[in-house]
Amino acid sequence: MAEERYPINIWVNEERYEKLKEAGLAEMCEEMLAGLKVIRVYANDAQKDKILKVFPTAKFDSATTKSIELLPKDVKDKMFDLIVQKKSVDILDEFLSNY
């Protein structure tokens, strides 16, 4: 059975979109919820558990979206910067190794 994957939604505001365009990564955005741009980073079970432990304000929305929400903006900014640097959304192992 495939391992469960839980998205972290990094909502793309104008500032983030400009950075993506500059890096030629604008197509990395998906569109959701009637026009919102988002980059989705996926966590496995172990990564989800670590995120919820390391960032106590984060919440797993178990009832509705099965996504990891309410990470502080500065944490998401760091994830976003790593995505731009790596040109990939596969950044969680490296990101979490700092915590």
């Binding site: 990094i10 909502w11 919820l33 009637a34 919102l36 929305d61 979206t65 309410l70 998401k76």
Partner: protein
Amino acid sequence: MAEIGHGGKEIVERILEPSEAKEKIKGLKQIPIRSQIANEVIDIAYGFFCPLEGFMSKADLDSVCKNMRLASGVVWSIPILFDMSESEISDYGIKAGDSVVLTYQDNPLALFEIEEIYDYDKKAICQAVYGTTEEKHPGCARTYAYKDKFIGGKITLVNRPKINPPFEPYFIPPLEMRKKFKEKGWVRVVAHQTRNVPHTGHEWLMKGAWLQTYGELSIEKPLVGVLVNAIIGEKRKGDYIDEAIILCQDELRKAGYFGDHNHMTSLTFWDMRYAGPKEAVFHAILRTNLGLTHHMYGRDHAGVGTYYGPYDAHRLLESIKDELNITPVYSMNWLYCPHCGEVTSEGLCNHRDEWQKFSGTVIRSIVMDGVKPPRLIFRPEVFDLVMECAEKYGFGSPFVTDEYLKNRTPVFSVPPLE
């Protein structure tokens, strides 16, 4: 004409006029209380908790735990308890038969006629009410935090709380609320329980419930209203600030998504227990007393974590429906379907593979990321007001911070007794 509340009992406000109050409390011992108890004192005195006239006796608590009923047999699901430690009881020198003054913010709030001082196994309360004894359940944590003795007895308010801006128009006690419904000509009113700033999923829950409630009634004139009854109580860091919740709920009416003819916003002071099905029953009782005829219940009503099944509350309500004077309206989730290009009900749309679900938590994440959600998901007037509330009341944040908890203006103040 008498206004009849839950359990068939007349709603009577237990409030003394200031001159009588001053006389009654003269020379009595004064006992300071915390915010949870102050909230419940106000609820008891104004009739939100009818037929309760005070804090529960041991017989009532035992019956609530074992039978989900008061000792009189009337359905009641959440214990309403006054706690004190043995040493406090001894230091104050209080005993059954005494009357004391409960003070809040250093001023007299209520007269407490002590009828009984007793103990009760807190673990047994947790198991009965929350279905678990785990400390991580917020209702259990609140129960375990009670001191070791409970005191039962009647409450009478000696000093009306002053509701502070911007909350004043939204504190509408049961007798006043029932008058308002009559003035509006509403013959059915459906309750929307909330602790959230509304997104369009909430808006459509209300609109759907309004349609369900309208049923066979004549459409010649407006006969049905939605009452938003926001629960205002203890805040946790990261919640929306109270001011944003209440003002944004009302903004849906002011901005025309509803109107005066079908929508009203109000608040009740209550510290959520997250008791799931038992809290759903409690909400039915509370809103019956406010004069509502119908009550919305979605999935996992007032639940937390994975303690309760999504429809446990519905099943419990069904099991006692003949003893409640309020009709449950069960609501399916609303979601965004990009194929339909609209917010739609999961009971209607069949583009299942394309559904994009959203929740209050997701919207909070979007706002925290500094993004303005599209109007189909979050009304622009509501978004702008959230941001205005952040500046005006939230010390720059629409979410509860340490600074907000420390420096906010309280929702109500207890003035000196003149």
